[in-house]
Assembly symmetry: C4
Homo-oligomer: 225 residues x 4
């Protein structure tokens, strides 16, 4: 139990360090080319997810995301009694990861972001991003657990680019990024909208997947192309 | 059956959202550097394919492409009676995905593309791109079903660059991209040529693969280098 | 037997189409930034190798390279009687792939390269590149056949950048690229030096690996970190 | 035993050749854009690690890193009696790899770096980078040995960007890069600080992982998301 909490804390911490730290490095080096900075930020984040999910998956499941933990609790894959510990570990890890990233680059541990991310288009984007993430996690967890790290890493790599919000898709990540006035930051006033959209997207996906994934995989696997 | 249709619809929808959405984001941020924009578009599309094929493969086979569904029907991997449903779901999903991508970036749901993509060189490119895609899918489906998502994602990543058409290789994708006047768009007048070349390439590959893949894999696997 | 030859021909053809085609596309779009062009060329080539080795590996072993075929013949993994057919198919496929790439981009099928690639530093680079490639193929073929496509794709992705020659490492590829006056071309006068260095590197690796890989994998696998 | 030493020597040699060689190539081609140069350097290094760990893992475990060898000795995965040989082979391989990279690009075999990399932020970065690396290696070695090459390659890909030091995380690499006055170099005066931080991070991770990974993987794997 304590091990699972530490794994969630460490995993979410390294995830946030990767997101925020690579954003700082990318912005410093990119000479104003935002596409190049986002590309570096994307590759670092996707690769970090693959490594962290491979490393911490066998210990805690490596949710690293309150929406995923909640979804798996709804699916009875995670006991409800463990949910509060998972959420607390994820939040603590997220803020610790931001602080470590800042210190590695000579910044103060926390400084509030002034970067605006709002409006209905970005809210829709967070709904879509989280809907897709939970669908991918749910389906893989059911039929291809060993491939989940690659699926999640690949999904987030894509979602950084195909959503106008660059796909936060994670309330712990969103809250912690409000404490970082860097490339990856978000104004604290915009956090609630993002979080609401994320839980709505995750809930919609959970409802759908409960029906969608309720099939035997056998025959389907052979048909796979 | 309904589940399979929903999986094809969702999968093709997310695929189009990824192709069109990442194209919009990439063009906005790249400051006129088309190579950089296409690189971001490529990485997002390839990664999306890996995630979507891993997630939806066990449910519907994750064809996400009328040429693939037709090819697998010719190979008797997909019952002919299910083909119309697959095609309808793919088309509906493709247009829904384009609309969602547009809305996420504050555009109208559909607006006709004016981007010219024509001429014999691009027709040849679509023939080659689809020929290669169906060959990869067919061979992997026969011997390495678990690796199909990685093979298809890698193939399209390469084909975005080695074909002059950036490798649509998918009639549902082609039709839906005509409704997007963005980086990934195609003029509606150019759609028929692309679609004809795609079906021709897919048919040629299916005829070849029926002969080429008709061997026992056993000894071959050991010889593999 | 005919199937194996066709698989080698198709595989090498698509490999060359990927190398040459993506080079043309990258140079056209990169606006003079050679690093960006090479990055796109690299990603397309590495991804193509993963897809092609996954697809054609179960049929012919997917050598796609005379040095690899020769090395496997030395290791008795490929019967000597099949070697001439493999080499002929690879050469024919390589030139066909170059022609298809050129036609897809509106060029003549063949036009001699004037790009100089010579000197002892580049000869050493081809020796090292091919030595590494054969070592990776040999070791994976022995212990991790299923991972060979990923290992080879990753190796070439790296070798495009860490060798001064951009790592041709393949005599069929080298000969065919002499017929392409594009980003990926090589002056025909420089081909013999490259080919000699490649066979020397491959032979050195084969001699080493015969000794190096002559151990039981059992205990080693557990020690793996 | 000799085979294991040669495998460590070759593997570390190719790793250094990849790091230093791709840095030279990237800096030459990038036209002053450091973000683009680091992106190419990152992709080459991450891909090289995947290929090298797949190839040499079954022979020697492919540690390629004194901190990893020491950590596995502490975990009794590597006999203490073999540790000196591993360290010697890694150091010799690292310097050989630097020399080969330099010769491939027409430079002298060794020339001392003047690139400053110092200060508490970079020391913290090396501590964090090595802590994460050892944690990933340790957990994967215990539960997912076959996925270790992908996890390590992905981790270093991310860590190049999320640490201010670009994540050396390897004392043999650090020492050898002091002999390279190129993109990847480090001033010899800054080496001791890096090495101390690396051993400290590795030791902290080893202590943590001995407790963290002391659980049965069974139930956890099913919970994985």
């Amino acid at each position: 139990m304590a091990r699972r909490a530490v794994a969630e804390l460490l995993g979410t911490g390294f995830l946030l360090a990767a997101v925020v730290g690579s954003g700082i490095m990318a912005e410093r080096l990119a000479g104003g080319n935002v596409a190049l900075a986002l590309l570096a930020n994307t590759i670092a984040t996707g690769a970090a997810l693959v490594a962290l999910l491979l490393a911490f998956g066998p210990i805690s499941g490596a949710h690293l995301n309150p929406v995923v933990s909640l979804g798996l609790a709804l699916d009875r894959e995670l006991p409800w009694s463990e949910l509060p510990l998972y959420l607390a570990a994820q939040l603590a890890g997220a803020f610790a990861g931001v602080a470590v990233a800042h210190l590695m680059f000579g910044n103060p541990p926390f400084f509030a972001s002034v970067r605006a991310r709002s409006g209905p288009a970005q809210m829709l984007a967070e709904f879509v991003a989280t809907f897709g993430l939970v669908t991918v996690v749910w389906s893989c967890a059911k039929w291809r657990a060993a491939a989940t790290p690659y699926a999640v890493g690949a999904y987030i790599t894509a979602a950084y680019w195909f959503t106008s919000s660059t796909s936060f898709a994670n309330p712990a990540v969103t809250l912690a990024r409000a404490a970082s006035n860097t490339f990856a930051g978000i104004r604290s006033a915009d956090v609630p909208g993002f979080v609401v959209a994320q839980f709505a997207g995750g809930l919609a996906a959970a409802l759908l997947c409960r029906w969608l994934c309720n099939v035997p995989a056998a025959g389907a696997a052979q048909r796979e192309g």
